[in-house]
Symmetry: C2
Subunit: 234 residues, 2 copies
């Protein structure tokens, strides 16, 4: 099914593009709905489609030759993934699986590469999207190298707080603790230990519900970066 | 000092560009030589130049608000850095410092952004460069999440082996162990422990000299990825 111009225009990265260019993107794009656990792409394969998640959640994970596997990122809407692999025609570095029922745009990779050679505004748009992707990964590397698992968990929880000046917060984890541990780069038992450490910094948990009783104290412990990008994220 | 067309043409990413376009790049580029420990850019600042390292080594490092600091990457020639920050006009996520005497091209950021809007081939070139950068960071995240420090060290040593079918190797570490520990995302005492672990997999060290007595065995332990990109790297 074709997404249509209204759906395409609702994708932040496509907003500045002309109706003519959106029409050409529409011609090479399919709108699909997928059940949980559907595999969208597999590490090592050559990409045939750029994915843009409109609704749902997708886990990007990597597997080492010895079978160890880890979630590199959980994608939330609206966001693209596997852009770099599509642009370079190089194998996917990660596998992608739907975590929840998901709705996606699938753009034909070869047609997209052909289109962006003819349409400089699209190239500039994708260049900006790539830069955002890169910065998200740099942040992860910084986080993994600079912080303990408990600090990473603290930063993650602080990022879920919508109100920048709230002294306390009542949160719901957006996905299960297995996925959270993988995203934070620790084993599930270390995640439990991290939650235990955070208890002394005012963090109380009941299943997926998390209460932050003292955001200032948690911030002092976790030392989150003040380097967030503005929300231009595709 | 202007680099001149011959120097620019020797930068792999500029190879496909026309003489006219290289001339315009030359106009906005300075060639500089820097002493060790010179700071090239500082985390949090707005970028004014794209850097391309021609000779030497540059360390990119991140600092958390609590002062903890880690090397995110050591740049070897010929390679660019801070491209994403330059394209997005967003603050540097890392500081860059010369490790050794270094020779670099500095491209004026605002002029580069103006030029790539007028010159689609340059946009496509930079888009490919960004994709490579992204994939390098994804590999680091995979590595940090999937492997122990000893396995990461093993993968690092295996990547230094030039001959893909050699059964043994005699290597020299390209930089000191402090920098190596930071790049691998562990403390210096953990690096010593990682070297000790690798001894049982045929790795012998004498200062910066490293002997791999049994590459097959080390490969089995470290489980390196078979996902390296072809050497298009700018």
């Amino acid at each position: 099914m074709k997404p249509g111009l209204a759906t395409l225009r609702a994708v932040p990265m496509f907003e500045p593009l002309s109706a003519d260019l959106l029409g050409r993107i529409n011609d090479i794009t399919a709108l699909v709905e997928l059940a949980p656990r559907t595999e969208l792409c597999r590490q090592g394969a050559i990409p045939d489609r750029l994915h843009i998640l409109l609704d749902g959640q997708v886990a990007l994970s990597g597997t080492a030759p010895d079978g160890t596997s880890a979630v590199v990122e959980v994608v939330h809407p609206v966001a693209h993934f596997v852009l770099a692999a599509v642009l370079m025609e190089l194998p996917y570095l990660m596998s992608a699986n739907a975590v929840t029922p998901s709705r996606l745009l699938l753009l034909d990779a070869a047609a997209l590469r052909a289109l962006l050679e003819q349409a400089p505004p699209l190239a500039l748009t994708l260049m900006r999207a790539e830069a955002q992707d890169f910065r998200a990964m740099v942040r992860q590397v910084r986080d993994l190298k600079l912080r303990s698992a408990a600090q990473r968990l603290g930063c993650y929880l602080l990022a879920l707080v919508a109100d920048p000046i709230a002294p306390t917060a009542d949160l719901r984890l957006p996905f299960d603790k297995g996925l959270l541990a993988a995203q934070l780069g620790c084993r599930q038992e270390n995640l439990s230990r991290a939650f235990a450490t955070l208890r002394t910094h005012g963090v109380e948990t009941h299943g997926a519900r998390v209460l932050l009783h003292d955001i200032a104290r948690l911030r002092e412990f976790a030392a989150p970066d003040d380097l967030a990008d503005p929300l231009l994220r595709l």
